[in-house]
């Protein structure tokens, strides 16, 4: 998917003017939060589970090569195949080759953020293979030719009416000519259309929530069951997963799953949590004959051992964006790429470069709500701050901001001069603002006064001046 992260500010303007989006966001930012809160209250061990989940992922990252090799060994022993893809381009090529070897015309796809990251659909389409998204949300946005706006709820930005219009437009040619108005009818129609697609598909492509080294299993979590159809019905099952998905054991999976669904949707456990291990066995009445796992690096190994390593713990639950007031204001598309919200603000500069995605880690108040709900305790504000530091070091910070900071720092490091400067500013602002108590416009403060007044200082001078005048102790 092509990034528009560089145009973040324009994207924001569009998002704030989009009334459909704003209506959808108003539902989203309350619903997810309340459901998670309920699930957490029902699980007294939740905080301890978060600690353990963090520790498991840290352990897996510190032994990443070992567990990947062990995972590979297990898959090979069962007659499966493992492919190593250092870059997005390598992964696209490998998947296309596998599809072509399977003489695939259509591919049933289960929602995968990695597929979005490497631009897999576009690549397959360019080579005459039709990928069909089967997660309902992904299917809707595929019909609309839009990117996902949320990592677990890709169509969360759309209203029911928009979905109804989309289905009406695309399903009419399949014989579904009535424009539907009820949600359950929309879901039933999509089920019917997609069931046929599943049965025609030559290849099923899924992502993976976890790879279990102990057993060589790839794991998938869905509520719809679409991933299970994708990995059961077609003759070939291709899993695409990034390297940091590997974890040691089934017991570790249980801990991570206990925090995943609760953090994501507030469910106790997702409806379908599936372990796939190798191709079908002799005597199995169904299941794929061929099983491939594509392991993608795409810059992740560079993050290991760096101050940014914590981002690799992410289990893609979406809680950070569900709780982010910035995401809640602008939605996912404004971020301009695959991963929106706080985790996107940390991942996207890594995967796209800071010059492209530099706005994202800046567009945060550091309110910390993301970190407070992250199931693997990723210090998201700290990581965003690291990006700002790299930006500053590399002189990518906008010149006006840099100049203002320079002046502030110059004064803040010189208390006497600072006292004189604030004294003058305080008297001027207090004097001219006295009548109204506030300003509705101020030179150099347009960013502030565009939307709100600027309260004027109280009369009587700065605190320090008054404290001294009253003879208050200063040491």
């Amino acid at each position: 998917m092509k990034s528009t992260a560089h145009a973040f500010k324009d994207n924001v303007g569009e998002a704030l003017r989009d009334t459909n989006l704003q209506q959808s966001l108003s539902i989203m930012k309350v619903g997810f939060v309340e459901r998670r809160r309920g699930a957490v209250e029902r699980m007294p061990e939740f905080e301890a589970l978060r600690d353990r989940a963090r520790d498991i992922k840290n352990h897996a990252l510190a032994h990443l090569d070992f567990y990947l090799e062990r995972f590979e060994q297990k898959v090979l022993a069962l007659g499966g195949h493992v492919h190593w893809a250092p870059t997005a381009e390598d992964a696209r090529r490998i998947v296309l080759d596998l599809c072509q070897q399977a003489n695939a015309r259509t591919v049933a796809k289960s929602k995968s953020m990695i597929a979005e990251e490497i631009g897999l659909n576009e690549h397959l389409e360019a080579h005459g293979i039709a990928p069909i998204e089967t997660d309902l949300g992904e299917y809707i946005i595929q019909l609309r030719q839009e990117p996902p706006s949320h990592i677990i709820a890709p169509a969360v930005h759309l209203t029911k009416d928009q979905v109804a219009d989309t289905f009406h437009e695309h399903h009419s040619k399949l014989g579904f000519t009535r424009r539907l108005t009820e949600r359950n009818d929309l879901v039933a129609e999509a089920r019917h259309v997609l069931r046929q697609k599943f049965q025609q598909a030559d290849v099923g492509i899924t992502g993976a929530n976890f790879l279990v080294a102990e057993t060589g299993s790839s794991m998938l979590v869905t509520n719809e069951g679409n991933a299970d159809l994708s990995n059961t019905l077609p003759k070939t099952h291709i899993v695409i997963a990034s390297i940091e998905k590997v974890i040691p054991t089934l017991e570790d999976a249980a801990t991570l799953l206990r925090v995943l669904a609760r953090s994501a949707t507030g469910q106790e456990w997702s409806s379908y949590t599936t372990f796939n291990t190798g191709p079908k066995r002799s005597g199995d009445p169904d299941g794929p004959q061929a099983y491939h796992v594509v392991l993608l690096d795409n810059g992740r190994s560079n993050v290991l051992g760096s101050e940014m390593q914590d981002m690799l713990r992410c289990i893609r639950c979406g809680a950070c964006m569900n709780h982010c007031p910035v995401y809640g204001a602008i939605g996912g598309h404004a971020y301009g790429w695959v991963y929106p919200g706080p985790i996107g603000a940390v991942l996207d500069p890594q995967l796209l470069g800071l010059e492209e995605a530099g706005n994202l880690p800046n567009a945060s108040t550091f309110c910390g709500r993301c970190e407070s709900v992250c199931p693997v305790r990723i210090p998201l504000p700290k990581l965003m701050r690291h990006w700002r530091e790299r930006e500053f070091e590399h002189h990518l910070t906008p010149p006006t901001v840099r100049k203002a900071l320079g002046l502030w720092a110059f004064l803040a490091k010189r208390p006497k001069l600072y006292r004189a400067a604030t004294g003058i500013a305080n008297r001027a602002l207090a004097l001219f603002g006295r009548a109204e108590g506030r300003y509705d416009a101020l030179p150099l403060a347009g960013g502030w006064t565009r939307h709100r007044d600027m309260p004027a200082p109280q009369a009587g001078g700065t605190f320090h001046a008054q404290w001294k005048a009253r003879g208050g102790a200063t040491r």
């Binding site: 007031p325 945060s364 208390p415 108590g437 939307h451 007044d453 004027a456 109280q458 320090h464």
Partner: protein
């Protein structure tokens, strides 16, 4: 002598006023000083303070943040406690200063020592001193916004409410989303004014829905932000720092209101 009403007797407390209080709302500093003195503390305002360094620290200017942190550490060493009428600046000193000196063990030790003695005002009064403030009165229906750093870095939630409960005449009506950011975020609100405004719209709607006549919080940045919006929209809500109400110093015009 320690007594339940003056548990701070004998303690030297340095007040970190914060740059915004110094510039915009000195009455918050005086309210903080009064509350501490009423509790028996000796209050000192070290002269070498300017700012905690957050504008630079949060903008990626680590070198200047370190220089300023060094200055604050030097100015505030040697007191029993450092008290800050702001969760944001308090969090900067008590959470982020030690991390700034990760590569400088001697400074890190000093930063950690300072961090362990630094408290947000209401947290200090309730958790450290355990004071029952001097009885005071304020007839107002209020709602309280939990500023982010105080809430999530320092655990300030119950303390201001507990102190408000001791003020005669105050009726607290909680707003929905009290823990959601108001959109201030320091330089954020001028770097991304439209996002900030959208967040502020939600906040102002939540405030208005309570019907409260007064909005309180413990951080002046958030208060200036919310006051500016409430007034731009012509909403009749008075905005004050919680310290002013607890200290019984509500004679001053509310934030953004003209002097009489």
């Amino acid at each position: 002598m320690r007594s339940p009403t003056r548990p701070g007797t004998g303690l030297d407390v340095a007040l970190f006023v914060t740059c915004l209080v110094d510039m915009f709302r000195p009455s918050v500093g005086f309210a903080a000083a009064k509350l501490l003195e009423d509790a028996g503390c000796r209050v000192v305002v070290p002269d070498a303070q300017t700012c905690c360094g957050q504008p630079g620290y949060n903008s990626g200017d680590r070198a200047d943040a370190i220089a300023i942190a060094r200055q604050v550490i030097e100015a505030f060493e040697g007191y029993d406690y450092v008290v800050v009428p702001s969760g944001s600046c308090g969090g900067m000193i008590s959470h982020h200063y030690p991390a700034l000196f990760a590569d400088e063990p001697a400074m890190k030790a000093r930063a950690e020592k300072l961090a362990s003695r630094t408290h947000e005002l209401t947290g200090f009064l309730v958790d450290v001193l355990g004071v029952a403030p001097t009885p005071t009165r304020c007839d107002a229906t209020v709602t309280y916004h939990d500023s982010c750093s105080g809430l999530r870095e320092l655990g300030v939630k119950a303390q201001p409410r507990q102190l408000l409960a001791g003020v005669e005449g105050v009726k607290l009506v909680e707003m929905t989303g009290a823990e959601i950011c108001c959109g201030f975020g320091g330089t954020f609100c001028v770097k991304y004014p439209d996002i900030s405004n959208a967040m502020l719209d939600d906040k102002v709607a939540d405030i208005a829905a309570t019907g409260a006549g007064t909005l309180l919080a413990g951080d002046l940045g958030c208060l200036l932000n919310m006051a500016g919006k409430l007034q731009r929209e012509g909403r009749p809500v008075k905005v004050r720092h919680v310290a002013e109400v607890i200290a019984g110093m509500t004679d001053e015009p509310a934030i953004g209101e003209p002097a009489p």
